[in-house]
């Protein structure tokens, strides 16, 4: 920009490129606000998002699959006659043809339950508002409807569909006649949280969760038959304390019961819980017959097969499992959904299962290899959370953007920084994460573009906006107002350059984190599993920290002694020191650990595993750091020694008071490096069975065939620790650098 410092204030006008940037910011903010307002008022412009599928049923003729979703729609897909569970070699989920679908509309609430009438093939749907509709799928219209008290969180039908049990969000359990829609009776108190209800096939028993307990009533009389709270695996022991003292398992749910189902013969009650376990209760005795673990997230639904030989369990960990009965051992795991699996059922054919998920899809699975053989979307789109996130972002960025535009028009420096930070950091998360997520969907590229085009458009828009904001003439106008004195201009420019550097730096970090996150997600990690064992693995963190800290302390002392030895003119000290360095640096750390742990006991010196680890690591890193210290000490100039000697200081005083403090400052960065390396090498002590971080990650990972997941947790911890340490090191360096030219 032309213009000299002595130009008048007239030079500070928003012209040219700056005006373009200002207009772009203002327009972006205004449009964002408009979008947010229409979104929250229920307007039509929104991101294409899926509708979570909450219920699924297979028609009696095994040809149709009905799915009810969050948007109140029941979709019925008709399976092509030729469809079979045989998987073709070149099977590609993304390119498989979709099935003809019929939409049944009319529900106002989310459709939470679907049942086919076995004789007539009619479909019954229940929504969360308590409306029950009866459909003839051939006509696509409801034949009749009835309303029970809503809102409803779970319902279950008897086998002949004559009665229906419901539990409301008000925690009340009720029994209804399906013929008349009349209330038959209410059961239990609404005192505690109830999420699940089940009705036995013959309609005789009702079970409902009550916190982590289960209440079972006789449907005819309304009397409480059982309150199932759990019992010891050894039936003789009554209380939990006795049971645990005897080293037996206490079989009970520890968190809310979230799913219930009666076996077809009514002898068993299966219960699933937010504690991720499934229990099978013997209704005759009221005791737990068997238990099943294997899900890593809360159980969302349970479904017996018609013969009572297996149970389908679905979980918020994105998988469904088949549990074989008796015993409840897992006989199959079906993974692939990218959201919680809400429901699953047997069919359409003998060798298939169908599942409904909050990722907006239903999947058909074959049971031999547990592969997905078909997938349908409720509505093609992004996960629903992204729709909400974008609206929230638009609201916030709209308001802040207007503030920034106001500031920009008045040539305020902060507004330029605000605008840059806002429109760089926000979009990276709000657009970057969903865009990357779509890349992971099993869809052809054209379809992916159909979902994500608004995001791509937004990304282009924001990029243009950023480019406009960051162009040099624009930046100059805000960084260094022409009207200010030259010295002020230069100072302001310096400050702003630093700030801009910071903004860009943070932007790059967040962008790379998003990228890393996305890449990791493509690894198909079992996130629920990671969450489940996170605290167990982290239990090793304190040991890791302790071993690292103790080892580094030992290493620093040894390194100092070693360096003195190396610099000494005493041949014995010099020899010992150089031998130490040579031996330790020349042999592998792992071997040294074994020597300390397994070799020393031969001499009658028995060390604790942790102590042996600290000694091995400390001695090893001491040898490496000796060289660092030696270099640091030698870097202190001869003049410093002479000045101290000339003052009458002895060699010891000179070293302690003059040389060492200066050498320390020099060696801090390389010592920091060594410490970071040691923190990670401390995992080697796991060979001695110390229960530190890596040991735990390894143990859990191998037991569950999820080594990648557990090691990633450990890696993340090491990284966080390293970042924290680098921060501290930076502080220390600044402190030690006093006297250094700044």
């Amino acid at each position: 920009m032309a213009g000299r410092p002595d130009d008048t204030a007239a030079a500070d006008r928003v012209t040219g490129a700056s005006r373009t940037a200002l207009i772009l910011v203002a327009a972006t903010a205004a449009l964002s606000l408009l979008f947010a307002i229409q979104y929250y008022l229920g307007g039509p412009i929104r991101l294409p998002v899926i509708s979570e599928v909450l219920s699924v049923a297979v028609s009696p003729d095994q040809r149709s699959i009905a799915a009810g979703s969050q948007d109140g729609m029941v979709r019925v897909w008709n399976m092509p006659a030729a469809f079979s569970s045989a998987i073709l070699a070149e099977f590609d989920l993304a390119r498989a043809p979709t099935w003809p679908v019929q939409g049944l509309t009319g529900h106002r609430g989310a459709v939470i339950e679907l049942v086919y009438e076995p004789e007539s093939g009619d479909l019954i749907s229940v929504d969360s508002q308590g409306e029950v509709r009866f459909w003839d799928p051939a006509q696509g219209k409801p034949t009749r409807s009835m309303t029970i008290d809503g809102p409803v969180s779970d319902v279950d039908f008897s086998r002949d569909l004559s009665t229906m049990a419901s539990v409301g969000t008000d925690n009340r359990v009720a029994l209804w006649s399906v013929e008349t829609g009349q209330l038959i009776g209410r059961l239990g108190s609404p005192a505690s949280a109830r999420w699940a209800v089940a009705l036995s096939g013959d309609g005789v028993l009702i079970a409902a969760g009550m916190g982590s307990h289960i209440q079972v009533w006789d449907a005819q009389t309304g009397t409480l038959v059982w309150e199932l709270a759990g019992n010891c695996e050894s039936q003789a022991l009554e209380t939990e304390d006795e049971c645990l003292q005897d080293d037996k398992s206490w079989l009970a749910h520890t968190k809310a019961v979230t799913a219930l189902a009666f076996s077809p013969d009514g002898a068993l009650l299966a219960s699933g819980s937010a504690d991720t376990t499934v229990l099978f209760w013997n209704i005759q005795t009221g005791k737990v017959a068997s238990s099943s673990e294997g899900h890593w997230g809360p159980i969302t639904s349970l479904q017996f097969d018609p013969e009572g030989r297996a149970v389908l369990s679905t979980g918020a960990d994105n998988v469904l499992k088949t549990l074989r009965l008796p015993g409840g051992k897992s006989s199959g795991t079906y993974g692939g959904h990218f959201g919680a699996v809400e429901r699953a059922t047997w069919g359409p054919l003998d060798t298939m299962l169908v599942s409904a998920s909050s990722d907006g899809t239903i999947r058909v699975w074959e049971t031999a290899n547990q592969y997905t053989i078909h997938m349908e979307w409720s509505r093609l789109g992004l996960q629903r959370v992204w729709g909400r996130t974008l609206a929230g972002w638009m609201l916030v960025s709209g308001i802040l953007g207007l503030v920034a535009a106001w500031g920009l028009s008045r040539i305020e420096r902060w507004s330029h920084i605000l605008a840059m930070a806002l429109f760089m950091l926000g979009p990276i998360v709000v657009i970057g994460l969903p865009l990357f997520e779509v890349l992971g969907y099993p869809l052809v590229t054209v379809t992916r573009l159909r979902i994500s085009w608004p995001l791509i458009l937004l990304a282009v828009w924001y990029t243009a906006l950023l480019v406009a904001l960051m162009r040099e003439p624009v930046a100059l106008l805000y960084e260094a107002p022409r009207s200010a004195r030259l010295a002020e201009q230069l100072q302001a420019s310096q400050r702003t350059i630093r700030l801009r550097f910071g903004v860009y730096g943070v932007g790059v970090w967040i962008g790379l984190l998003v990228l890393l996150f996305t890449v990791l997600r493509r690894f198909k990690l079992d996130v629920a599993f990671m969450g489940h064992f996170f605290s167990f693995i982290m239990g090793g963190a304190s040991i890791t920290l302790y071993i690292s800290a103790a080892s580094i302390a030992l290493a620093v002392v040894l390194a100092l002694l070693g360096a003195l030895g190396r610099l000494s003119r005493n041949p014995i000290a010099n020899g010992i020191s150089s031998f130490y360095i040579s031996l330790i640096r020349g042999t592998p750390l792992l071997v040294q650990i074994f020597v300390w742990y397994l070799g020393l006991p031969q001499l009658g010196i028995r060390l604790e595993a942790e102590l042996a680890g600290i000694l091995a690591l400390g001695v090893n890193y001491g040898a490496y750091m000796t060289e660092v210290f030696r270099a640091g000490i030698q870097a202190i100039g001869k003049g410093q020694h002479e000045a101290a000697h000339a003052l009458g200081m002895t060699r010891g005083q000179t070293f302690r008071r003059i040389v060492l403090p200066q050498a320390f400052r020099i060696v801090i960065p390389p010592i920091g490096n060594e410490f970071i390396a040691m923190m990670k090498d401390s995992s080697l002590v796991y060979v001695m069975g110390v229960w530190e971080l890596t040991f735990r990650a390894n143990k859990v990972g191998r037991q569950n065939f999820r080594a990648m997941e557990t090691f990633l947790i450990a890696a993340a911890f090491y990284w966080v620790l390293t970042v924290a340490f680098q921060f501290l090191q930076g502080k220390l360096e600044t402190r030690m650098a006093r006297g250094e030219r700044k």
């Binding site: 000045a643 101290a644 000339a646 003052l647 200081m649 003059i658 403090p661 200066q662 400052r665 006297g739």
Partner: protein, 250 residues
């Protein structure tokens, strides 16, 4: 007649095969200011550094304030004598050699604390006086990196004086300074001379030599060329070598 405070007899110094000082003798009386000038490589600095054993002399004897050391001795007794001499002879270096990790004040009190085992209040009080004497009491808490060369050298002089030396050795104290900073250091040295300090100064500052020195020595090729009061030394030198040297620098 008082005794000389510095007595050097037959001082030789070899660096390997290189014979740097060819057996020189020197007596310096208390409160006398002796300036040594001469061409580079003539052995001036080496001679000075031999006096407090920063360089171990190869032959000869050195006696400073009645402490006599035979050269080429070893052992604890010898090291103890060297430390005694060093406490009697303060030294100021060309490169200042302040301790960069200490403030001006800490630089000055360091040796009194560690060597003389003074308590901190006493050392600090004395250092305050010295810093104010060199005109730097306002810089007492600055690190050397924040001081100009002239200020650093003045702190270095205060640091040496804090040990209450009998003599002061100056090894080209102004050679590393920008021309406009030389004056402030020379001024301090002049005041020191006026207060009766025995000073042995290696320098190229002819003005200082002419105005302050009691005796000027020309040293070249490891030996004395000419020695005399400044009036005679600068105006009517006896030796041809001295005339050549003066012609170069004046």
């Amino acid at each position: 007649m008082t005794e000389p405070i510095i007595k050097v007899r037959g001082l030789h110094k070899y660096f390997g095969p290189l014979h740097v000082i060819h057996g020189v003798d020197l007596d310096v009386m208390p409160a006398e200011v002796v300036v040594i000038v001469g061409p580079s490589g003539g052995g001036k600095s080496t001679f000075l550094r031999c006096l407090n054993f920063l360089e171990e002399p190869s032959a000869g004897t050195i006696e400073i304030d009645h402490v006599e050391i035979g050269v080429r001795d070893t052992g604890a007794k010898h090291r103890q004598l060297i430390r005694e001499i060093r406490q009697k002879a303060g030294m100021v270096f060309q490169q200042f050699n302040l301790f960069p990790h200490m403030t001006a004040m800490e630089n000055v009190i360091e040796a009194p604390l560690t060597v003389k085992k003074l308590d901190r209040p006493a050392a600090t009080a004395k250092a305050e006086k010295l810093l104010s004497w060199v005109g730097l009491s306002h810089k007492r808490d600055e690190y050397p990196s924040r001081l100009s060369g002239g200020q650093q050298q003045r702190v270095a002089i205060a640091r040496a004086l804090a040990m209450e030396p009998k003599i002061m050795l100056f090894d080209e104290p102004t050679s590393a300074l920008d021309p406009e900073l030389i004056g402030e250091v020379v001024e301090v040295m002049e005041r020191l001379a006026h207060e009766g300090m025995t000073m042995l100064v290696v320098t190229h500052e002819i003005h200082f030599a002419r105005d302050v020195a009691d005796r000027v020595i020309l040293m070249a090729d490891g030996g004395w060329v000419e020695m005399g009061p400044p009036g005679q030394f600068f105006t009517e030198p006896k030796e041809e070598r001295t005339r050549q040297f003066l012609a170069h620098i004046l």
